[in-house]
């Protein structure tokens, strides 16, 4: 028995290697048709595979928290090198498909100078989006609807504040609070996956 004691540090080291991330969930067992900001149909999970996916969840009628989430993801993008960026893609998924049409998402991206080379903004029909939110355990609850002076519905959404990191195999590795995420932490986690 004593002759095998020298193996223990090595075993501990190897078992520790897989524990950088706190999650190990497959989020690709549902096939879903989504629509991107160019009104192009895309298939999930194919769209997120073979790249490290940084996924934010938002609705464009949110003026405060969701822009923070977007901004944090843009900060992550800025901190990655060109080579590192080639292995990463950023996604914004709207949980307000009734109002966040492809053209609305496109305007949202344009006004924020989002570099569409590395980004995709996604919407879809309500059932599809609900299924996708379920995969990531993201909740979005409509508040009461009121009508503004132009007769358009106005409601706010209480929602999970989230950025999710998914590896190239479609495994969810870590969740972050979207509005207060530390870009440095995300960058380090991305580099760990590369």
């Amino acid at each position: 028995m004593k002759k095998y004691l020298f193996l223990i540090p090595g075993i501990l080291l190897i078992s520790g290697c897989g524990n950088h991330f706190n999650l190990n969930e497959n989020v690709t067992d549902k096939n879903l048709t989504l629509i991107n900001q160019d009104s192009t149909k895309v298939i999930y999970p194919e769209i997120i595979k073979n790249k490290i996916a940084v996924i934010g969840f938002l609705y464009t009628h949110c003026p405060d928290i969701c822009p923070l989430t977007t901004h944090n993801m843009q900060l992550v993008e800025e901190k990655l090198s060109k080579d590192e960026l080639n292995k990463v893609k950023f996604y914004l998924i709207s949980f307000d498909p009734e109002r966040d049409t492809p053209s609305i998402l496109k305007q949202y991206a344009e006004v924020r100078n989002i570099n569409m080379t590395h980004w995709e903004l996604l919407t879809g029909n309500k059932n599809t989006i609900d299924t996708l939110l379920n995969e990531f355990n993201v909740k979005a609850i409509h508040d009461d609807t009121v009508y503004n002076k132009q007769g358009q519905p106005e409601y706010f959404i209480i929602h999970t504040d989230r950025i999710s990191l998914v590896d190239e195999d479609g495994i969810l590795r870590k969740n972050y609070k979207g509005s207060t995420a530390n870009p440095e932490e995300l960058v380090n986690d991305i580099k760990y996956l590369e």
Binding site: C62, K139, K149
Partner: protein
Amino acid sequence: MKYLFLFFLIFYQGGNNIEVRSAWIRPAPATFNTAFYCTIINNNDTADTLYKAASGISDDVQIHETYMKNDMVGMRPVKFLVIAPHDSLIFKPGSYHIMMMNLKETASENTIKEISLYFKRAGELKVKAAVKSQH
């Protein structure tokens, strides 16, 4: 009569010693919602109350706060906010903000937009805010 005039002049100056600093607005296209942020400093010996905001770029302007509960976030309107004497109130992302809904025109980065803040004592203060992505 001139002493009465001077009294009202001093009173007006004293009641209007509210400063608004670091005002900015998030960029947003027309018809979108956006948020206005700033720091309000009450240099007076008495409290004042912000009860309304208005702007030519939106017909629906409300005082709002973002709140967090567990890992969920939401927003709710706030009827008024009191700023204590010699104190300040900060409107910042993730906290209090002035919500501007259904913009009548695009708020483009690097432009200036005007907003009016209404106080019970200081009255209307017109503020120019820079449109920028993040402060």
